[in-house]
Subunit: 338 residues, 2 copies
């Protein structure tokens, strides 16, 4: 059984993944930034104590025990934040299960960043599981809570529910038809942010965008989830319209996606950036049934193992950037021909 991020989910032609995270802090310690070493260690001990009753197959790892490349693979999978991975004191820990659909950062900006992930568009189930875990921890450990502000967080913009729902979408259709800017602007109204995951604004590398809620305070978990769902469905609809538009000029689209496929399957070196861009169109071609040589599963593998750290971990060797470009090209061929 492969991990969630190597599987397709609902509306996977557009939606890559859904993430729900709760920021939580314990009453008995100051916020992370003001914690001393001892207090951080005590927090981890608290977690170790409740771990057996927590379930979900969660295991505790201290960042200092994880090698740098493995740490970066977690960042590349969006399981932990770059800031958390790169923290010099290395005092963070994670609770993670084998499937990696649950990953709780400990001693990050907040004491707990409870995160649950799903492939495709899966807001409700993801929320429910995240809430369940949040409650289970809350039964054993007292969260910092104020009647006025709700759950207290290190950064006030997270206070209240402490909840962030993020949906990653792939929008090559809107990008190729030139409608991406218009659509992004239209959905800004619903209390949501939408931004390029790699790079800024409407020129996101690989056409990958993240939709997430702006507000966490004065709004219920249900409302947050509902708003994100509405916006995401609107974007899915627009993206599919754009793709249909593109298929009207079928030969142009076929030519375009197959040229990208031709380069991916024949190049002898390729950067991650270039892979991202080409793969976005190749995925589009595969989703539209134009490219027959690939499958969803192969595309997800290309997306994952093409990333710098995941590539090195997959190959089991440390490589500099130039070597990575060469090995990446080789791995692409291997995955395509699997």
């Amino acid at each position: 059984m492969s991990n969630w991020y190597l599987q397709s989910g609902k509306d996977s032609d557009v939606v890559i993944s859904t993430r729900v995270r709760f920021g939580r802090n314990l009453e008995k310690y100051p916020f992370s930034l003001r914690c001393n070493k001892k207090q951080r260690e005590d927090l981890v001990k608290d977690v170790e104590e409740i771990l057996p009753s927590l379930g979900y197959g969660l295991r505790l790892f201290k960042l200092k025990d994880i090698d740098d490349i493995t740490k970066m693979t977690l960042v590349e999978k969006h399981l932990i934040s770059p800031e958390f991975a790169l923290n010099e004191n290395n005092e963070g820990s994670i609770l993670i299960n084998d499937d990696e659909n649950i990953c709780i950062m400990i001693n990050e900006e907040d004491h707990f960043r409870i995160q649950v992930f799903s492939a495709g568009l899966e807001i409700e189930n993801t929320c429910n599981l995240a809430i369940e875990i949040e409650e289970k921890i809350g039964e054993k450990l007292q969260y910092a809570f104020s009647e006025k502000y709700g759950y207290l967080t290190s950064c006030p913009t997270n206070a209240g529910t402490g909840m962030r729902v993020s949906v990653m979408v792939s929008l090559p259709g809107l990008s190729l038809t030139g409608n991406i800017g218009k659509v992004l602007q239209a959905v800004q109204g619903f209390g949501t942010n939408i931004r390029g995951v790699y790079g800024e604004g409407s020129n996101s590398q690989g056409n990958i965008y993240q939709i997430s809620n702006k507000q966490t305070l004065g709004i219920s978990e249900k409302e947050i989830a509902k708003n994100i769902k509405i916006v995401t469905e609107k974007i899915i609809e627009q993206e599919r319209i754009a793709r249909k538009l593109l298929t009207k000029n079928e030969i142009e689209l076929e030519d375009r996606v197959y040229r990208n496929f031709g380069i991916l399957s024949n190049c002898k070196k390729i950067t991650w950036n270039e892979l991202n861009d080409k793969l976005s169109e190749v995925k589009l071609g595969t989703d539209l049934g134009i490219i027959k040589e690939l499958t969803d599963s192969k595309i997800m593998k290309l997306e994952l193992y093409g990333k710098p750290a995941n590539l090195q971990r997959y190959l089991g060797k440390t490589l500099d950037a130039y070597e990575r470009d060469i090995e990446r090209a080789e791995l692409i061929k291997k995955i395509i021909n699997e």
Copy 2:
């Protein structure tokens, strides 16, 4: 047995073909431009009379009996000149054999343009055959000849020997190393012209250049042949040095040629211009043993049948430019996978 232009010859990694042509006029008629219809027809009758004793499997065709696409296939193979093919009066004829290594234009700028072609670098044999044919015709029909100027030709720049030796070379190595301009300049001294076959100067499309003698007067056939041979061998040497230089950075070169190969083998539409450019590098990769998927023979087929008229003739249908681009892409795949 395939035609000469689908075969490899000596030094075929650099030299595509060798052509020798003699311009000849008959004493009894004015130069072509001043000939009336009757005189042109009489000339063709003269040719018909001597044809049985001429041999070489030559057959006479009148341009007016050849359909436009077939005529353009001859132009694309460089067997007849575009001006000759496009002449509105359609009063030209050709003597041609099945192998198409001999093609004599009748009623072109001169009464006779005797042309012999070979694959690769084959100056001596090609010259000998051209001279043999020239003499055989001359035995039966009296050429216009002056003691002072030698053979008389419609354009004075052809007078004397009336001989033009042309060698077509493919110079991707010099082009990629940026040394093409320097080398072209260095060989201008030897009484030779070197110019891009498609487009001008040092930016020849497809990196194909033609080396030919400037002078026809005051120089013997042997000297012309010798000079062209010296210059061509110099260029072959320089091109091979350039290619060796390129292989020092092997991964860069591999990546480059294989990306071109990837596009050629996956595109869904492609212009002739783009095919020319990509094929030049793909040929380089094949010549250097980098690209294993192709053979010389396949490359020559791609070069030939990718040309607009030859494509249509090969497919047996008339196509507009857009349709050609699509069918060309399909044929490329077919030839590659043969």
